[in-house]
C-alpha cells in the first residue's frame, strides 16, 4: 500500500443560512493514493461536487467548512493562508469541470489561457512559455498545436475545449487532478477519447485522478478505487473488482439493478423508490433507510457507523455489522431470453419518407441566403402501432430536429410524413391543430418543459382545453386526477407548482400531460438523460407499462445505448442528418454493420466487467451540417474508409426485411 497523497478526515461543509443549514458534506473520510484513479460516485445532490470544491477551497459564499481536515501530502489545505492556497490550486491540485463551454473565456485565445496557468505555476521564462504551451497542447492530443494556440474557444469543438481545460490543469504539473463530471456534457465517442487521454496522461505523469461522476460505465472503465457517496456521506469504498463483482451496500446493489440493458428486456427495472433526502435535516438513522428494501428497525433510529472491511475498503450499513447475509442475492439477474419481437406486417402508424429540414444561413443587410444547415437530410422510417423506434446518434446529428419535424413544430423543407393516413406536412391551420392530439412530445429537461408560473393541474389540463377534451372544468380536473394516479403521483399534486417536485416526478407530470390528449405516438426526446440512474429506471418502467396498456408507439430519441437495448424494438442510427443504419434492435446491437454504428457501440462504457471489448476510437469530431464532407459523410473519421468513399453518398443496402445500411462496403 503506497502512502496516501490526499487524506480527508471528517470533513463537514454546510451551506446556506445558520438556522437551516444544508449539510452538503457531512463527515467524509477518504484517502487517495499516488497515481491511482479514485472515483466518487453518486446521484446528483449527494455532495460530490461540494466535496471537491471544499478540497480546492472554492466554496460558494454561503458555504462554510465546519470541521475536518484535508491533507495533501504533508500540507494541511484547510489551514493554509489564502495566498499560499493560490499556488496549491492549479499547482499541486488541478481541476477540470463538467461544462467546457463555460470554463473558457471566450475573448482570449486558448494559447493565452494556457499561458496564464503556465506563468503562475511553472514559473517559466517569458521566451519559454510559448513552447511550453505548444507542448501541453501536444500532450493533450490537439492536432496542429502551433496554429491552435492562436484560436479562440468558439473555434473549437466541445471535446477540444475539454482537452484545453485538461492542458490548463496540467500546466501546474498537478499531483492530483480533480475531474468533476469531465465527460458528462460530451458524446460517447468524444467521451471515449477524453477518458483515454486522462488514462494516458496518468501513466505518463503519475498523477492521481479524482473522478467525480454518476456514470457507472465510466467508473468501470477507468477507476481503480470507488467511493459511493449518498446524502453527504461516503457509504461504501471498494476496489473496482470488489465493487463490480460484489457491491456490499444495498444502495450500490440497487444502482446496478436499476441499470437498463439488454439483459433486462421485458422485465421491469428495479427502482429505488423516492429521492435523496433533503440534507437540511437531522438524521436519526441510516440516510438510505427510507428507500432501502432490506431495511430493519434499527436502521430508522440508529446511525450506522463506518466499518472497515479488509484493506482500505469499508461500508456504512447495519447489515454488515450484523453479519447478515443479504436476504436474496438478486444482483445477478437471470439473463432472460429477450422476448421475440413480433414482426407484425401491419401498415405503419407513421411513415416518414425522405424528410428534410434545412435551415437557411442568412448573411448581410439584405439577409441573402448563402447556404443551408442540413440538419435533417433525407430521413426515412416507419413506426408501427405499439412499437418503439429508437433514434440514436451523437448530439448535433439532427435527432431532435427529426422529432420536431414529424410533429410539425418545425416545418420540414421537403419529404413526407404520413401519419394514420394523413400527410402531415400538408396539414394546415385547424386541421393540423386537431391532428396534434394524436402526436405528443416529452422533452429532455422536465423543468424547462413546464411553465413555472402554472399549477400542475393547469399544465396537464392545457392540452385537453386546447383539444376540447372534457366539456367543463369539473370533467377535466377529474381526468387530471386519473392521469396523475396513472403516472404514480398523488392527486394533490394538481394543486402544486412544478418546482415543488423532484426531477423524476416532474418527468412523470410531463408524461401525464402528453397522455392527456390520448395520443397514439409520443416522441420521447431524451426523456431520461437529465435524470439519475435510479430515477431513470422509474421513468423507463412507466413508459414501458404505458405502452403495454395503451398500445402507444414511441419515437425514442436518445444517445444512451443501454436504454435502447432495454426499451426499443427497432433502432435507427443517425449521423449528420442521415440514417446510416436501421434494423431491429437485435440486428443492430448484436451485429452492427456500419462502421459508425460499430464505433458508437464500442465507445459506450459498459459496466459488465466480463465483456472485454475493443474500443474503436474515432478521431476528430462530427463535421458541421452546414458543410458536410463530400461522399459518405462519415469517411473522414471512418477507420475502414477507402478512397471510393469520397465519391458519392453510398446507396442504401437492404440486408433483410427490416434492415438497411448505407455503406459502400456492403453494396
Amino acid at each position: 500500500m503506497s502512502d496516501p497523497l490526499l487524506r480527508i478526515k471528517n470533513l463537514k461543509t454546510w451551506l446556506g443560512s445558520k438556522d437551516n443549514p444544508v449539510k452538503a458534506v457531512d463527515g467524509v473520510d477518504l484517502e487517495i493514493r499516488k497515481g491511482e484513479t479514485f472515483a466518487l460516485l453518486g446521484e446528483s445532490g449527494c455532495g460530490k461536487s461540494m466535496t471537491a470544491l471544499t478540497m480546492m477551497r472554492l466554496l460558494p459564499t454561503s458555504g462554510r467548512i465546519l470541521d475536518g481536515s484535508v491533507m495533501l501530502g504533508d500540507t494541511d489545505i484547510l489551514s493554509l493562508p489564502e495566498a499560499s492556497m493560490r499556488s496549491e490550486r492549479g499547482g499541486r491540485m488541478g481541476m477540470i469541470f463538467q461544462e467546457p463551454n463555460t470554463s473558457l473565456n471566450p475573448v482570449l485565445t486558448i494559447g493565452d489561457q494556457i499561458a496564464e496557468s503556465v506563468k503562475v505555476h511553472a514559473g517559466a521564462v517569458k521566451s519559454e512559455i510559448n513552447s511550453i504551451v505548444v507542448d501541453l497542447l501536444k500532450a493533450v492530443g490537439i492536432p496542429d498545436p502551433e496554429r491552435r494556440v492562436r484560436e479562440y474557444p468558439h473555434q473549437l469543438s466541445g471535446g477540444m475545449k475539454q482537452r484545453v481545460m485538461i492542458a490548463i490543469a496540467l500546466a501546474g504539473k498537478p499531483e492530483l487532478l480533480i475531474a468533476d463530471e469531465p465527460t458528462t456534457a460530451l458524446d460517447v465517442t468524444i467521451q471515449a477519447q477524453v477518458l483515454r487521454l486522462l488514462k494516458d496522461l496518468q501513466q505518463e505523469t503519475g498523477m492521481a485522478i479524482m473522478l467525480i461522476t454518476h456514470d457507472l460505465g465510466v467508473v468501470s472503465e477507468v477507476a481503480d478505487r470507488i467511493a459511493v457517496m449518498y446524502a453527504g456521506q461516503i457509504i461504501e469504498v471498494a476496489t473496482r473488482e470488489e465493487f463490480f463483482n460484489d457491491p456490499k451496500h444495498p444502495y450500490s446493489r440497487k444502482l446496478f439493478e436499476s441499470l437498463p440493458g439488454k439483459a433486462r428486456r421485458g422485465q421491469p427495472l428495479a427502482v429505488i423508490e423516492g429521492t435523496v433526502p433533503a440534507l437540511n435535516q437531522e438524521f436519526k438513522g441510516c440516510r438510505f433507510a427510507d428507500r432501502c428494501e432490506e431495511v430493519m428497525d434499527m436502521c430508522h433510529n440508529q446511525i450506522p457507523v463506518w466499518s472497515e472491511i479488509g484493506e482500505a475498503q469499508g461500508i456504512r450499513c447495519h447489515l454488515h455489522n450484523m453479519d447478515v447475509v443479504p436476504v436474496a442475492n438478486i444482483r445477478k439477474p437471470v439473463v432472460q431470453q429477450p422476448e421475440e419481437i413480433n414482426k407484425k406486417p401491419s401498415t405503419p402508424l407513421l411513415s416518414v419518407d425522405d424528410l428534410k429540414v434545412h435551415f437557411p444561413i442568412q448573411k448581410g443587410v439584405l439577409r441573402r441566403t448563402v447556404g443551408h444547415v442540413k440538419a435533417v437530410d433525407g430521413v426515412s422510417m416507419d413506426i408501427t402501432t405499439g412499437h418503439t423506434l429508437a433514434l440514436v446518434g451523437e448530439s448535433g446529428c439532427g435527432k431532435t430536429t427529426v422529432g420536431k419535424g414529424i410533429l410539425q413544430l418545425i416545418r420540414p423543407t421537403a419529404g413526407s410524413a404520413i401519419f394514420d393516413g394523413n400527410e402531415l406536412t400538408e396539414l394546415k391551420g385547424e386541421a393540423l391543430r386537431k391532428r396534434r392530439s394524436d402526436m405528443q412530445i416529452i422533452f429532455q429537461d422536465p423543468m424547462a418543459s413546464m411553465n413555472p408560473r402554472m399549477l400542475v393541474g393547469d399544465i396537464i389540463a392545457e392540452g385537453m382545453q386546447a383539444q376540447r377534451i372534457g366539456n367543463n372544468r369539473q370533467e377535466r380536473s377529474e381526468r387530471v386526477n386519473d392521469l396523475l394516479s396513472k403516472v404514480g403521483l398523488s392527486v394533490d399534486a394538481a394543486k402544486r407548482y412544478p418546482h415543488e417536485f423532484s426531477g423524476g416526478q416532474r418527468q412523470r407530470i410531463c408524461v401525464a400531460r402528453a397522455l392527456a390528449v390520448e395520443p397514439m405516438l409520443i416522441v420521447c426526446d431524451e426523456p431520461t438523460s437529465a435524470l439519475d440512474v435510479s430515477v431513470q429506471a422509474q421513468i423507463l418502467n412507466l413508459l414501458k407499462q404505458l405502452q403495454d396498456d395503451l398500445d402507444l408507439s414511441y419515437l425514442f430519441i436518445t444517445h444512451d445505448i443501454s436504454v435502447v437495448a432495454y426499451l426499443a424494438h427497432e433502432v435507427a442510427v443517425m449521423y449528420l442528418g442521415r440514417i446510416v443504419e436501421r434494423g431491429t434492435v437485435q440486428e443492430v446491437l448484436e451485429s452492427p454493420q456500419h462502421p459508425y454504428t460499430k464505433a458508437l457501440l464500442s465507445a459506450v462504457p459498459v459496466v459488465d466487467q466480463d465483456s472485454k471489448r475493443q474500443v474503436i476510437h474515432l478521431e476528430g469530431d462530427m463535421p458541421s451540417p452546414a458543410d458536410p464532407p463530400a461522399g459518405c459523410h462519415f469517411h473522414p473519421r471512418c477507420p475502414e474508409a477507402v478512397p471510393e468513399c469520397q465519391q458519392a453518398y453510398p446507396q442504401q443496402v437492404q440486408l433483410s426485411d427490416t434492415r438497411t445500411v448505407s455503406c459502400i462496403k456492403l453494396s
Binding site: D445, G463, A466, Y497, V517
Partner: protein, 471 residues
C-alpha cells in the same frame, strides 16, 4: 355639496390606482408573484422607502380630487352656489397656506419682507425699510425679541404633538397586526419593537415617527410663518413644493401607463412571431429611437400650445388647460420611452418561444394568443415591473429638466421643474433667493432617492439571476 370636477389626469391616476390594487389582489393568489413581494417587505430599505413613498402618494392622491367649493352663505347670489375656481381636497386641507399671500419675496420663517420698501409711518414720514409681512409672524409684537422663543415653542409643541400622534398610530398598527396572532397585544408589541418579526416593523415605525413629527412641526410653524419663505409674487414656497408632488407623481406614473400597452404588445409580438412582424416593429422602434427625444417633446408641446391658444373656448379654466398639457407631456414622454422596454421584451420572448413548454403547448395545438397570454406574458412580467419602478425616478427628473427648458408642464402649474426654472433668475439676484431652489431640490431628492432605493430592492427581489445567486 361641492361640485366635483374630474380632470383627465385625475381619472387616469385613479384608474392606475385601481389597476395596481387589482394586480395586488391577483398577485396575492400567485405564489411566484407573492414570494418576491414578500422579500421586498422583509427588507429594511424596502419598507422604509415604502413609507416615504406612501406619504408622497397620499398627498398626490388628495391633490387629485378636484371640485368647485361651495360658497359661503353670504357670498351666494342669484343661484350661484359654487365658486368658479377649482380646488383640490388637498388645497382645502392647507387653505391657510394657499390664501396667505405676501407681496413679494420673504425668507423662510421671516417676519419681514426680503426687499426694502418705502413705508409710510403713522406720523406721515416716509422711510425705506423692510416692511413687516402680512401673515408671517404677524402675531408678534416685537419680533426682534419674541421671534426665536416663538419658533422654539412652536417646534416643541409640534414635536410633542407629533410624538403623541406617532404613539397613537403605532398602537393602532400593533393592535391590527396582533389580530390573529396568539401572542396578543403585549407579545406582538414586544416582538415588533425588538425587531423579531419577519417584516421589519421597527423600521416602519421609526420612519413613520420621523415623518409624522416633521409633519406636525411644519404644520405648527406654517400656521404662523412661511416655513420655506415666499416667492416673487408672495406665494408660499412650502405650498408650491407640496403641490408639485402631484405633478411629479403624474409624470412618473401616467407615462408608464401610456407606454406599457405599446411596449408589451409590440415587444412580445416581435419576439414571438418573428418574420415580417418582427422586422416592422424593429424598424419602428429603431427609427423612433434615433429621433432625439427632446426634439420630439418640444415639437409636440409647441403644437399643443398653438392648438390651445386657437381653441381657447374648449377649456373652461386655466387648470384644465394646464392639465391637458400635463397629459400630453405624459403621452409624448411615453411615446419616446417605450422602446427600451419593448426591446427587452422582444429579446425575452425570442428566448421563451423556444422554451420547451411553449413547444409543448404548440404540440397541443394551443392557439398563439393563448400561448402569449398564458406562457409568455406571465414570464416577462418581472421585467415589466422592474422597468416601471426603475423608470419612475428617471421620469420625475426628466420633468424637472424639461420644465427648465420651457417645454415641460404649463408655467401656471406647480412643479419642481418650474420652481427650479424660476430660481434661475432668483439665483442671479443680489442678495440671492435660495429657498425656492432648495425646497424643490429637497422634495424631489427625497422622492427620487426613496424611489431609487425602493426600485433596487424590487429588482433584487424579482430578477431571477440575482435571486438564484443569493440563495
Amino acid at each position: 355639496m361641492p361640485q366635483f370636477v374630474v380632470l383627465w389626469t385625475d381619472a387616469l391616476i385613479f384608474l392606475l390606482l385601481f389597476m395596481a390594487v387589482g394586480f395586488g389582489l391577483y398577485a396575492a393568489r400567485k405564489e411566484h408573484l407573492r414570494d418576491p413581494w414578500r422579500s421586498v417587505v422583509e427588507s429594511k430599505v424596502g419598507v422604509g422607502t415604502m413609507v416615504v413613498l406612501l406619504f408622497y402618494v397620499t398627498i398626490g392622491l388628495l391633490d387629485s380630487i378636484h371640485y368647485h367649493p361651495t360658497l359661503a352663505e353670504e357670498e351666494q347670489s342669484n343661484g350661484v352656489t359654487h365658486a368658479s375656481e377649482v380646488i383640490s381636497l388637498f388645497d382645502q386641507m392647507v387653505t391657510p397656506l394657499r390664501v396667505r399671500q405676501e407681496k413679494t419675496y420673504s425668507a423662510p420663517l421671516a417676519t419681514h419682507q426680503y426687499a426694502k420698501e418705502t413705508i409710510e409711518l403713522p406720523d406721515g414720514t416716509q422711510i425705506r425699510d423692510f416692511p413687516r409681512l402680512l401673515h408671517g409672524g404677524a402675531h408678534l409684537q416685537r419680533p426682534e425679541q419674541e421671534w426665536l422663543p416663538d419658533i422654539l415653542r412652536s417646534v416643541a409643541i409640534g414635536t410633542i404633538k407629533g410624538g403623541l400622534l406617532t404613539l397613537v398610530v403605532i398602537n393602532i398598527l400593533i393592535m391590527f397586526s396582533s389580530i390573529g396572532t396568539e401572542c396578543g397585544y403585549g407579545g406582538q408589541a414586544k416582538r415588533m419593537l425588538l425587531g423579531q418579526t419577519a417584516i421589519p416593523w421597527r423600521v416602519v415605525l421609526l420612519t413613520l415617527g420621523v415623518l409624522l413629527v416633521l409633519l406636525t412641526v411644519s404644520a405648527e410653524l406654517s400656521l404662523k410663518y412661511h416655513l420655506l419663505g415666499t416667492d416673487k409674487v408672495g406665494e408660499d414656497v412650502f405650498y408650491q413644493a407640496l403641490k408639485s408632488i402631484r405633478t411629479g407623481l403624474m409624470i412618473g406614473t401616467l407615462t408608464t401607463l401610456v407606454m406599457l400597452p405599446a411596449a408589451i404588445l409590440l415587444g412580445i409580438m416581435a419576439g414571438f412571431f418573428r418574420g415580417w412582424v418582427d422586422d416592422i416593429i424593429q424598424y419602428l422602434y429603431t427609427t423612433l429611437n434615433s429621433i432625439p427625444g427632446v426634439l420630439l417633446i418640444a415639437a409636440a408641446i409647441l403644437m399643443l400650445q398653438i392648438y390651445m391658444s386657437n381653441h381657447a373656448d374648449q377649456f373652461n379654466s386655466l387648470l384644465e388647460r394646464a392639465d391637458m398639457r400635463l397629459l400630453f407631456l405624459c403621452i409624448i414622454l411615453g411615446v419616446t420611452s417605450w422602446t427600451g422596454l419593448c426591446r427587452l421584451l422582444r429579446g425575452e420572448s425570442i428566448k421563451l418561444r423556444e422554451v420547451d413548454y411553449v413547444q409543448a403547448a404548440t404540440a397541443f395545438g394551443v392557439g398563439n394568443f393563448q400561448i402569449i397570454l398564458r406562457h409568455i406574458l406571465p414570464n416577462v412580467l418581472h421585467i415589466v415591473l422592474i422597468t416601471v419602478v426603475l423608470d419612475f425616478s428617471g421620469l420625475v427628473l426628466a420633468e424637472a429638466v424639461l420644465s427648465y427648458v420651457n417645454i415641460g408642464v404649463d408655467p401656471t402649474m406647480n412643479s419642481w421643474g418650474n420652481m427650479i426654472n424660476s430660481a434661475r433668475l432668483e439665483m442671479a439676484r443680489e442678495p440671492i433667493v435660495w429657498w425656492s431652489l432648495m425646497a424643490a431640490l429637497m422634495f424631489m431628492f427625497t422622492l427620487v432617492l426613496s424611489a431609487n432605493l425602493f426600485s433596487d430592492v424590487v429588482r433584487d427581489a424579482f430578477d431571477p439571476r440575482l435571486r438564484s445567486s443569493s440563495r
